[in-house]
């Protein structure tokens, strides 16, 4: 189950953070997302140590804690997309397609002429689309 999704701008400013757990743990999720940003910076700036190729957008599993896993995706414009999930067994392909749809929704939201670049995304349509993508996310077959 996806706990939360986040979009962070290129100066590490939060553009969108939405939690889907229903509980009031926004602060804890903020904290997890913040820690993952450091991992992204490290991966991008030290390509020799990591296995990921320098130019790929999908960054893979960033930060496994005891109950959460965080996946990252970096766009060409240095915008970071993060997904925190509680599922233990998630397929790579599912997460990749999730990020693709997430990125497409983000591009549509940012193309809005009333959106100020660098400020938070306040479009309700974007929020609805992201909720739709999260609901449709099913981690393959179980067992």
């Amino acid at each position: 189950m996806i706990a939360c999704v986040a979009v962070v701008g290129h100066q590490n400013n939060p553009l969108y953070l939405q939690s889907f757990t229903g509980a009031d743990d926004a602060l804890k999720l903020h904290h997890i997302v913040h820690c993952s940003l450091d991992v992204i910076d490290e991966r991008v700036n030290n390509p020799k140590r990591s296995v990921i190729t320098l130019n790929e957008s999908y960054l893979g599993l960033l930060y496994p804690t005891e109950s959460y896993k965080v996946y990252g995706y970096l766009s060409n414009t240095k915008v970071k997309f993060l997904v925190v999930t509680t599922d233990l067994d998630v397929k790579d392909t599912d997460i990749r397609s999730f990020f693709r749809r997430f990125h497409a929704a983000y591009v549509d939201a940012v193309s809005n002429p009333f959106h100020v670049p660098g400020k938070k995304i306040i479009s309700r349509i974007f929020a609805a689309r992201v909720s739709g993508i999260v609901k449709a996310f099913a981690p393959g077959t179980y067992g």
Binding site: N55, E56, N76, K78
Partner: protein
């Protein structure tokens, strides 16, 4: 899913926008008008590059980003690529040359009017105002991929705008 619009509407919109800023809003302050037009272009370029770099791997250096602008970005906007790219690495300048700039083919320049000098002056003024828009687009697109630069344009071979050669010079602040 996307709906389409006739290109003539788009051309009319751009020409009207430039003339509105140049002749009505800031008629007495052409510098301010040109900066506003460039700022509009900046936002457009900023948003467009977000859309056009979606599935692509990240750029490893400036040259790759400029090549992307010359090829894919330019073909999305103008249905053709930049014809010539020159660079001067030491100074940090890139020169992009487009031999048949699409927007010029619609700008009306009347070379046969009586008051020849005045009309020449005003027509080159009109096109230089128009040029700030694509300069802004390039600058906005590059700034979103993390490259800051100054863009200027130079159009030679006007009044025969059909064959107008448009040269963009990009200067990087490295």
């Amino acid at each position: 899913m996307g709906r389409e619009v006739a290109e003539s509407c788009f051309d009319g919109l751009i020409i009207e926008m430039v003339s509105a800023y140049g002749r009505r809003f800031y008629a007495t302050k052409p510098d301010l008008a040109s900066r506003r037009i460039e700022a509009i272009g900046f936002q457009v370029g900023h948003q467009l590059i977000e859309r056009y770099t979606v599935e692509r791997p990240r750029f490893s250096d400036h040259l790759e980003a400029i090549k992307f602008i010359c090829k894919e970005f330019w073909s999305e906007l103008f249905k053709k690529q930049i014809d010539n790219l020159k660079t001067n690495h030491r100074v940090g300048t890139f020169v992009l040359q487009d031999n048949k700039f699409r927007w010029f083919t619609r700008v009306l320049i009347d070379p046969s009017s009586e008051d020849n000098e005045a009309s020449q002056g005003s027509s080159s003024e009109a096109t230089s105002m128009l040029l700030h828009f694509p300069c802004g687009i390039i600058r906005g697109a590059l700034s979103n991929v993390g490259i800051s630069c100054a863009v200027s344009a130079d159009a030679s071979n006007l009044p025969s705008c059909e064959s107008g050669i448009l040269v963009f010079a990009l200067k990087f602040s490295i």
